[in-house]
């Protein structure tokens, strides 16, 4: 029987790794992820988990060891944050482009400088083009379930791409919430044992990663992109299959909330979405016609589906916990603009930026963003510069 438990987001990630029967976990401590690998160390130590557990001297070594184990056909796992992800970038990129389908948990963290250990999505968003599938969880249950789904997606024969399950550092990583922990039999029935081909096999010797000429490189990239495109279907299918088996869904690629008749839309990602739903409810209660779309899958980006959902609206705002340097805007905003462009939709838009370096995104911030989206709809014009949610709220309060 599945059991109800009270777990932090990091404990959910560790429990998921156990349930997925990973062969090898390699860990290096970094805030706010450390308790993922610590929980795994404890489970391995007390016999609840039979994985190998390796603790090298850096994150660069973590991902490189995982690549070695992955080439041997193992199902592997790790977790990191911020600077740890930055330091593993070299093998991170080559893990996905060598098509080793692992799952990694990321408790998101703002990037330095200046020094910070707090939340923000700049780390994850900055590597969105490194070839991995990126899922963003909105609560602790979704962290656990997305990691289980993640292995099925990653190892799907039409995909074979690693999956990054990202969740807000501290807000989810350290917050305890009620979570259903599925039993092992149910997960085993959903996720078959790892059957990856062993790239390195003495009976069939091969060289991995030889120096590759441009024409062939183009083929590799084309193939990777084609698999990414197929992953759009697979992410949705796997979530549907999960819902059939476990009785709960995480909305596949995009979650919608009160969008059916909504004239104005706010697009969110991650844990702020729960607060944003409250803000939407409050605005609705005041007679505003507003709905919410949460991006669960940032890579591959569900541009078509998002475009279809945004058609016919009067204004669209996007809330980001990251910045796109060089654009006066957030990163998910850029993605949303691209989706609108592809769909040929001309609609007033705005980019709101908040929650950097652990700054809170409170309901009042989001209520203010909804007001500004409404202003865009009334004016029929996009806002050129990003809305800095902390300033905006202060100046609105002063007025």
């Amino acid at each position: 029987m599945a059991r109800l438990d009270a777990l932090t987001g990091n404990e959910c990630a560790a429990q998921a790794a156990r349930l997925c029967r990973v062969d090898t976990v390699v860990g290096y401590p970094i805030t706010p992820q450390s308790s993922v690998v610590e929980s795994i160390a404890a489970m391995v130590a007390n016999g609840k988990m039979s994985s190998k557990f390796i603790t090298p001297e850096s994150e660069h070594s973590v991902m490189s060891i995982l690549k070695g184990a992955g080439m041997m056909g193992e199902r592997v796992f790790t977790a990191t944050s911020g600077q740890g992800l930055a330091y593993m970038y070299e093998p991170y990129f080559s893990m996905s482009t060598a098509r080793i389908p692992m799952v990694m948990a990321l408790a998101t963290r703002e990037m330095i400088s200046p020094v910070t250990v707090w939340s923000g999505m700049q780390d994850a968003h900055s590597v969105r083009d490194a070839g991995w599938i990126h899922l963003y969880a909105a609560d602790n249950q979704e962290i656990l379930d997305s990691i289980i789904q993640g292995y099925l997606i990653a190892e799907h024969p039409d995909v074979i791409i690693p999956v990054h399950v990202c969740y807000d550092g501290f807000y989810l990583s350290h917050q305890t919430a009620e979570v259903v922990v599925p039993d092992q039999e149910a997960v085993d029935a959903f996720l078959p044992p790892c059957a990856l081909t062993q790239m390195l096999d003495v009976n069939d010797p091969a060289m991995v990663d030889s120096n590759t000429p441009g024409d062939l490189m183009m083929e590799y990239r084309e193939d990777h992109l084609a698999s990414m495109r197929r992953a759009l279907d697979v992410v949705a299918e796997v979530d549907a299959a999960f819902a059939a088996g476990f009785g709960r869904s995480h909305a596949g690629l995009l979650e919608t909330y009160r969008v059916d008749d909504a004239e104005e839309i706010v697009v969110t990602i991650g844990a702020m979405s729960g607060t944003a739903k409250d803000a939407v409810d409050a605005a609705r209660a005041k007679g505003r016609s507003v709905g919410l779309i949460r991006v669960r899958c940032l890579r591959p980006f569900p541009a078509k589906a998002l475009g279809a959902l945004l058609a016919g609206r009067k204004a669209v705002g996007v809330v980001d916990r990251s910045v796109s340097f060089g654009w006066s805007a957030g990163i998910v905003y850029q993605e949303t603009l691209a989706a609108l462009g592809l769909a040929g939709i001309a609609v007033p838009t705005l980019s709101a930026i908040g929650g950097l370096g652990g700054a809170d995104i409170r309901e009042e911030h989001l209520a203010r963003v909804l007001d500004l989206i409404h202003d865009c709809a009334l004016a029929g014009r996009s806002r050129q510069d990003a809305v800095w949610m902390n300033h905006e709220l202060l100046s609105a309060q002063r007025r």
Partner: protein
């Protein structure tokens, strides 16, 4: 005592940055005091000193001390320090790191800084553990010791920092402890004064993340260990081999006087510039 406090306050951002983060019984605060006394003793102005720190509990020292300070990234303090020293060789550049910082994630930079003999003083606060992140094994965690990532005892061997830095080519190598404070003041002052690359390994207990799990009853117990289980190098050398193996030698192991890389590089530039003078 009040004199000491007054002196220390001269060099601290105590009005802005205190209270500090150190646990009761942490050795790192003693190193901070020792560093300040050494700089004062050498009559260096605050502006001549650059303190480049890594990330960890040890790295927090850069936040508190009122020199030019940089809080860098985990493991990389020596590379930033190299850039600063090459840009302005007149500065006294001190890189302050934890054991994890300097020898685990940043071990590569350490051996190359030593080999290059860049004129930087490396202070390594060795508590045998990753303190800040919650007590995981580092490259100096002794074999058999219990840590958050080694509940049955650490299987790997640990580095001997003195031997490693010496073999890598450092000019000066010494080891002190936060129990032997007068000696530590002297070791730091000498290291800062000597040319080239100088490393001071400083044994600095972490009861919170290491001692508790490894049979120490208290932080005081760890300081007692530093007192009873170490010997000054000169007397350690007289010990029979089996005694030597049990005791940790402290003092100065190497005191070379080779000029640092920045000096050799400056001389080369001067020579080449002189040759290029139009006749």
């Amino acid at each position: 005592m009040s004199d000491v406090t007054e002196l220390i306050h001269q060099y601290l951002r105590h009005n802005k940055k205190f209270p500090h983060v150190f646990c009761p019984g942490c050795g790192h605060g003693i190193v901070l005091g020792s560093l300040i006394r050494s700089v004062h003793e050498l009559a260096l102005s605050k502006d001549e000193v650059v303190l480049v720190a890594g990330i960890g509990c040890s790295g927090r020292i850069a936040v508190y001390v009122d020199f030019n300070t940089v809080h860098t990234t985990h493991g990389r303090a020596l590379t930033f320090a190299t850039g600063i020293k090459m840009a302005n060789p007149d500065l006294k550049v001190i890189a302050l790191m934890g054991d994890g910082d300097a020898f685990s994630i940043g071990g590569n930079h350490l051996i190359h800084a030593a080999r290059r003999n860049i004129g930087v003083t490396a202070l390594v606060l060795n508590n045998s553990i990753y303190g800040m992140t919650g007590g995981q094994s580092s490259a100096t965690t002794p074999k058999g010791a219990v840590s958050q990532t080694a509940p049955f005892g650490h299987l790997e061997k640990s580095f001997d920092l003195v031997k490693l830095a010496s073999a890598a080519g450092a000019n000066g190598v010494s080891r002190g402890t936060v129990f032997h404070v007068n000696m530590l003041d002297r070791l730091i002052a000498e290291a800062v004064s000597r040319p080239g690359f100088n490393l001071v390994e400083i044994m600095s207990p972490c009861f919170t993340q290491y001692g508790r799990k490894n049979k120490f009853k208290s932080a005081v117990d760890m300081f007692k260990w530093l007192k009873t289980e170490t010997s000054p190098l000169e007397s350690w050398e007289q010990l029979p081999p089996e005694e030597k193996a049990k005791r940790l030698p402290i003092g100065t192991f190497l005191a070379g006087q080779e000029p640092g890389l920045e000096v050799l590089y400056g001389n080369l530039r001067d020579d080449l510039a002189a040759k290029e003078q139009p006749r």
